[in-house]
Symmetry: C2
Subunit: 316 residues, 2 copies
């Protein structure tokens, strides 16, 4: 029996269902009348997405946030949502209340109207969220041009470390609290995405890992991405040294950051920075786009290829 | 710990998410621009919806069919779909191919374009389907009027018996093959629903059970439904006698029939019957709507209340 990873499975379905020229995107779009309807479905699975120490209310909130993050990267505001639940028979009244509170928090934060949903019984908690919005156009993954600058909407590495700390249940100092919060309670930069939509040449949600995101964008855009600045904070660098961890692994391959990567032409750099300041979005310039292929990390000696080692379901 | 059933859980979420005047419908509707977008999410869960003898390809087909059935009842044609999968890590390549074939069969039958989806790892197979269409208006559950006639789009009782036979793995004669097929391979009457949309005063998908459907429609329409004809076939009546089963239980409370119940004003009876003949849809007149409340089964002696004893998740 050959082991399949997520890409293999998706390929089987794509071939069968006739999407021959399929280009992978953060959201799906279809046209009804004159309107583009933008939608995204995201599934939160207890056994793979929810560490045992995570509260069910935070998990419920995060199931919505994961979808919002894809909308943020495309510059589209989600307006409506449908929630489909699978719940184990033995789940307590209290946990259901906590879940409804978590969902309430998320939809209030982003002003989403929940239309309805369905409830099912199964072996573990599964929260399936569909969000809907409309737009004239989305920011695609494949629009990066040679000469563009590459940005991210926030620092990386914190969530992966936060997840490790959450699992270890180590004594909590301020920093540990911060990184656990970054994992449990992420905040996509929706306003920033929507407001800057017209300036971005390409963009992609980074929750599958920064290396995965950069490779997908470079590949789809048929360009080379050169990274010369590792987007993280001093506190993270110190924490990594102290705990003898690998910084690049956490930053580039950790995943679970509900930020996005985007590229802009140099002529829009000033306005993007001004908007980021106004919205208090801590964008970080991490490199530039050039002719060629692949993603490379610039060092003093030579450029090192940055492989796609982010999260894929079913990977061994 | 109090045991919650599906209605309790839905109520908790509705209260929390602010749908105070929530009226339960087969589909959700939202407006984007001038268009009403109709959508339905349905979740197929291996441990509760898939008997061990059911093939995974048939299960995959049925996950789409369940959604199509809701569209049929509302008179709306689904045009697009998104499929979200949860798959156990050990699932074989062969089963994934079978699933993609089952989905392909369903989308070809009903001419639905699959836009995309996501793939996740979990403890059991879960197929989450969202379908989308558009319409000027839907046929609601709450529009039945005193004097209307009540119809169903096909016979009842076969699926529940089919499920029992599938589980027992009894020797298959023609009838057993027929009832197993009715469970495994249901066919919603989409064309009939779409074409007769303007004539129906109310309608509802019956897959949760005929008694549940009739009670919900009578309750929402603030009318009394009187049933004077049990919608099943002679072969079913014989089978029930032979096996000492309870006919009413199978017909009214069995569920899994992807048919719909509808009401029409007497003035449209002739045109409905003509359209049914042309589309080869075996509609059955089962009773009439009158003033009052509740659902009653007319017998020679007196009218017996027909309680809602259909399928609810989490019910003991």
């Amino acid at each position: 029996m050959t082991k399949l990873d997520e890409s293999d499975i998706i390929e089987i379905f794509q071939k069968k269902l006739g999407n021959k020229k399929f280009i992978s995107e953060d959201v799906e779009i279809f046209k009804i009348g004159k309107n583009n309807i933008v939608t995204k479905v995201d599934t939160f699975v207890q056994s793979t997405d929810m560490p045992s120490k995570m509260k069910v209310g935070d998990a419920a909130r995060k199931s919505i946030i994961a979808c919002v993050s894809d909308f943020a990267a495309k510059g589209v505001r989600p307006r409506y949502g449908i929630i489909s639940l699978v719940l184990p028979r033995k789940i307590s009244h209290k946990k259901i209340i906590e879940m409804s509170n978590g969902i309430k928090r998320a939809v209030d934060e982003f002003n989403i109207k929940i239309l309805g949903g369905d409830t099912n019984e199964g072996k573990e908690i599964i929260i399936n969220v569909s969000l809907f919005g409309t737009t004239d156009k989305i920011v695609k993954r494949n629009g990066a041009k040679s000469g563009d600058i590459i940005f991210v909407t926030g620092p990386f590495g914190y969530t992966a470390s936060g997840l490790k700390m959450l699992e270890k249940n180590k004594k909590s100092n301020q920093f540990v609290k911060k990184i656990i919060k970054s994992f449990v309670n992420p905040r996509p930069k929706l306003d920033f995405g929507v407001i800057n939509r017209r300036y971005l040449s390409s963009s992609m949600d980074s929750s599958d890992g920064l290396s995965t995101t950069l490779n997908e964008m470079a590949n789809q855009s048929k360009c080379k991405f050169v990274i010369n600045n590792i987007p993280t904070g001093k506190d993270m660098i110190e924490f990594v040294k102290l705990n003898k961890m690998n910084l690049n692994e956490l930053v580039f391959h950790g995943g679970e950051e509900y930020e996005f990567v985007f590229t802009v032409s140099k002529k829009y750099k000033a306005i993007i920075k001004k908007n980021a300041l106004q919205l208090n979005t801590p964008i970080i310039e991490i490199g530039h786009v050039t002719k060629g292929r692949g993603v490379f990390l610039e060092t003093d000696e030579k450029d090192i290829p940055l492989k796609d080692l982010g999260w894929k379901h079913f990977r061994k």
